[in-house]
């Protein structure tokens, strides 16, 4: 039965992906509408923007479905696995519907199905209390977010009187209000700082292929929502571009700082989603600022860089989550500091994870670099302009540089501690690499990282097509400059690879006929090393975290070593998310206090409950 489910989902995704590709390459669009329950009309439309997101959604879901075949091998949990596939297929379908919906009703309906189905996927292992808690947190966040989106749509509906995506007749103030409300709502889905609190809890709780889908594409529907709202509303408020950019910068920098402090592999990757959403928002923000500053090149570069990063992030993040999934599947632990040396026994996982790490750090010749490159070039376009644009571009560039450096630090930590060195525990020692359907998707994704990194041309065109659908009134966007930039990246990358090959050949010649010895690592004179003496992830990140202490308070538990014959000691550290900390203090506690005081309403007497209902209806009658 499982194979049927996997086949069904993957064939469906494959067909959808082909269609999205053809829409992107031929400027195609399609629309359909139905009447639902005689009153509501369900309308769908595919334009360049939808097709671009569909490509990412179907691509990642296809591979995630294949991956799940060997990952979900729990014959003892058959019912649970079946439920998982049911909600998985529902999630794929609802995501596709979200990005094709053409009116508010359709959109919210699909949005809710998406949120709910992913909620059930998160609580897959619901016997673990922590996972249930993560699920509830996600549930609350996605519904508070949905309320904000409802409010934004309400503002639109209040002015236009129609459920269509239309903003004719709205004042600038109303548009701004609607956009900010929608930004908060969609931002909470996308994991924009400070609405990201659910993300690092929910993603680790879900099975890894679901984490890959959620982190790779589901949170991108939030980005889609922001872009869609932007294209609906003909905004002329410079402040909004600055707002998007600043949220992006904060998400980007703090996302990666928190990621550095994590000990849980999947939680670390989840925080990196916050970071990458930040990079995407920096791109979009630069685009919006470019539009306001009447600088079309900056605008198109910003938007297309951001969109390309959506695709790129969906590729390398799902790759990394799948890799983490294999590691967890084989070792049974998510703790980074308990692993080590996996590369020797898990070649495919290790190498593909390495490729994903290089890509997410934005290094050439991998795909993460390409999108960051376009955002950089777009941001530099704003540098010669007058001050608000200049300052904002400056901030964007410097924060991108800092994010790049921190991401490199974070992923050298992950690769170095998890995959290299020596195993730090028995669990990491006894591993193998079985399950071809788990490895194949990772190889494909790693291949995609390299291909886009070296030949970004086609993918860049797709992103520009999606930008064209935003309706920026630039007419046909000329492709020539983009083709040239892509060709330059190709040239640089091939040249580098050619030099690399030459040096490798030289190396081979130099090692010809030489004696190659093998011995233990040089311990600087110490001859009895143990694997426990290795640098851990915590120690690796400690000095960087110390620098960011104000934003990321570190709690350490380390009884000092004292006396002549000291007893054993331990070290435990936890990095606090300041948003979580303050949310708990300023929102959760007061709300709990208030509801505690209102407890008398809930008394269990059914007659009085009926009385409440009557009273509510009578009160409502006054308003309707």
């Amino acid at each position: 039965m499982k194979i049927l489910g996997v086949l069904g989902i993957s064939v469906g995704c494959g067909l959808g992906m082909l269609d999205a590709l053809s829409k992107l390459s031929h400027d195609g669009s399609a629309s359909a509408s139905f009447v639902y329950l005689n009153t509501l009309s369900l309308a769908f439309q595919i334009d360049g923007l939808s097709a671009f997101f569909l490509l990412a959604i179907f691509g990642v879901c296809l591979l995630a479905a294949i991956y799940s075949f060997h990952y979900m091998n729990h014959p003892d949990k058959a019912l649970r696995t079946a439920t998982n596939y049911f909600f998985f297929s529902l999630l794929v379908a609802s995501m596709a519907l979200v990005v094709t919906a053409d009116n508010m009703i359709t959109f919210m309906l699909s949005w809710e199905i998406m949120s709910l189905s992913s909620f059930f996927l998160v609580i897959y292992d619901h016997q673990i209390p922590e996972n249930r808690k993560a699920g509830y947190l996600y549930f609350i966040f996605s519904h508070v977010g949905a309320m904000f989106i409802f409010a934004a749509f309400g503002v639109l509906y209040g002015h236009t009187g129609s459920f269509g995506f239309d903003s004719a007749g709205l004042s600038q103030a109303a548009k701004m209000l609607a956009f900010v409300l929608a930004f908060i709502g969609f931002g909470s889905k996308a994991g924009v700082f400070p609405f990201h609190v659910w993300l690092p809890h929910a993603h680790p709780a879900a099975p890894s292929h679901i984490s890959a889908v959620m982190s790779g594409v589901m949170i991108k529907t939030g980005i889609y929502g922001i872009l869609r709202m932007y294209s609906i509303m003909d905004l002329h408020t410079p402040a909004l571009g600055a707002m998007v950019l600043i949220f992006g910068m904060v998400s980007g920098v703090l996302g990666v700082v928190y990621a550095l402090g994590q000990h849980d592999l999947k939680r670390l990757l989840a925080y990196h989603s916050v970071e990458n959403i930040g990079i995407i928002l920096i791109g979009i923000g630069i685009g919006m600022i470019g539009v306001e500053a009447k600088n079309p090149i900056m605008a198109v570069l910003g938007f297309s860089g951001g969109l390309l990063h959506v695709l790129n992030h969906s590729i390398f993040k799902s790759l990394l989550f799948m890799g983490a999934g294999v590691v967890i599947h084989k070792t049974g632990t998510r703790s980074i500091d308990a692993l080590g040396g996996l590369l020797k026994k898990m070649k495919v996982t290790g190498v593909t994870f390495l490729v994903g790490s290089l890509a997410i750090s934005g290094l050439p010749p991998f795909n993460g670099f390409v999108s960051e490159f376009f955002i950089y070039v777009g941001s530099f376009r704003g540098v010669p302009m007058e001050t608000p644009v200049f300052v904002l571009s400056l901030l964007a560039i410097v924060s991108l540089a800092v994010i790049g450096g921190l991401a490199l630090a974070c992923f050298t930590k992950v690769v170095g501690v998890v995959f290299q060195g020596e195993p730090r525990s028995q669990a990491a020692h006894d591993v193998d690499e079985k399950g071809p359907t788990m490895l194949l998707p990772m190889v494909i994704l790693a291949g995609a990282c390299v291909v886009i990194g070296i030949y970004p041309g086609t993918f860049m065109f797709m992103a520009v097509k999606a930008v064209a659908a935003l309706g920026l009134d630039y007419g046909r966007i000329p492709m020539e400059p983009f083709a040239r930039m892509s060709a330059n990246i190709t040239l640089g990358a091939t040249l580098f690879l050619a030099l690399l090959l030459i040096i490798l050949a030289l190396r081979r010649i130099l090692y010809q006929g030489k004696t190659i010895g093998r011995a233990g690592t040089w311990g600087c004179g110490f001859t009895q090393p143990t694997t426990r003496m290795q640098y851990t992830g915590s120690s690796y990140a400690a000095s960087i975290l110390d620098f960011f202490k104000p934003a990321a308070p570190l709690q350490e538990d380390h009884p000092p070593v004292s006396g002549l014959f000291p007893k054993g000691t331990h070290y435990h550290s936890h990095i606090h998310d300041i948003v979580e900390l303050h949310l708990n203090r300023m929102v959760v506690k007061p709300v709990l206090w208030l509801f505690d005081k209102l407890r008398w309403i809930q008394h269990g007497d059914i007659h009085l409950y009926i009385g409440y209902i009557l009273l509510a209806i009578v009160v409502l009658l006054f308003f309707v």
């Binding site: 800092v402 450096g405 921190l406 010895g517 311990g523 290795q534 000095s543």
Partner: protein, 306 residues
């Protein structure tokens, strides 16, 4: 084009020579005769003749690290106008490409160090991951200034011909800040005093040297060569800024450029002779000074350019 390639080859061949100057300067300050200027060539030849011993903990990444770091540094030099001559290759945004390529080299150097399972190398790796974050921010801050001055995003537009002289003319004295900022980046990126001490004897206090403890033979030779090239890359930028002139004659240009590079290397030697390494937690502040200087330079020139 041929000349560009020849100059690139010149850079590859002379980088070890210039690095030898630092030893001489330090020997002079120490009152010693010092090793011959060609010492680095001897070392490279010696290393290339040897075989290697690999730690049982290591994987293919350990062997790939030196290759990538040398490849990245050699590629970076392709984009840099040497002696003011047009570089081999140039495109809009090549600065970003080169900086990120050097990032790739750093990734592999760190990964190769982590491959050995040695706590010492882990310690060095953590520092190598930490300090360059600020270098990158500072570097991009300088790029912002250069972009405002030229409207271009490639090395050729910044350092070829009499272009650097144009910087001094339009920006004026804030360029001094930029030179110092670049010099600080040079010291940090190339693991020199006061950030790192390549001559120290205690592994605990090293950054770059400790990361390559386990490399030997030709692999170590590649690492050394990559380090020479990287040093040459940053030095030639500073050299072009302190001698921004175009003399109209290729040979004279090359001579002046070599003199500039020599002065930079000698300054590094002098700095190493008269200063001690900073405590590790002071280093970020030192590197951030570079960022602050670049930032001030940009802010001051904002007014000039109006």
């Amino acid at each position: 084009m041929i000349e560009s390639i020849l100059l690139w080859a010149f850079a590859l061949l002379t980088a070890p020579l210039f690095a030898g100057v630092i030893f001489k300067v330090k020997a002079f300050f120490g009152g010693r005769k010092g090793s011959p200027v060609l010492i680095n060539y001897y070392t490279l030849i010696k290393l290339f003749k040897k075989g290697s011993v690999y730690s049982t903990s290591t994987t293919f990444i350990f062997k790939l690290g030196p290759v990538v770091s040398l490849g990245a540094a050699a590629t970076a030099l392709l984009f840099l106008p040497i002696a003011g001559h047009a570089p081999v290759l140039s495109f809009n945004g090549d600065v970003i490409f080169v900086l990120y390529l050097l990032g790739l080299a750093r990734f592999f150097t760190i990964a190769a160090a982590m491959d050995t399972a040695s706590p010492f190398e882990g310690m060095g790796a953590a520092r190598e991951a930490y300090f360059p974050i600020f270098c990158e921010a500072s570097m991009f801050m300088i790029l912002i200034l250069f972009y405002r001055l030229t409207g271009d995003l490639n090395f050729a537009a910044y350092f070829s011909g009499g272009q650097p002289f144009g910087f001094w003319q339009t920006a004026g004295s804030p360029m001094l800040f930029v030179v110092i900022a670049f010099f600080i980046i040079l010291l940090t990126e190339n693991a020199r005093v006061p950030v790192d001490d390549p001559a120290t004897h205690l592994e605990l206090t090293m950054i770059h040297e400790v990361m390559v403890l386990d490399h030997s033979g030709p692999d170590f030779g590649f690492i050394e060569m990559g380090a020479f090239l990287k040093m040459f890359f940053y030095s030639s930028i500073v050299a072009r800024l302190i001698f921004p002139f175009e003399l109209g004659n290729a040979a004279l240009n090359l001579a002046l450029f070599s003199l500039g590079v020599l002065i930079v290397y000698m300054t590094v030697g002098v700095t190493e002779s008269i200063m001690a390494r900073y405590r590790m937690d002071r280093v970020p502040k030192f590197v951030l000074t570079s960022f602050a200087l670049a930032f001030f330079a940009t802010v001051i020139t904002l007014e000039f350019l109006k």
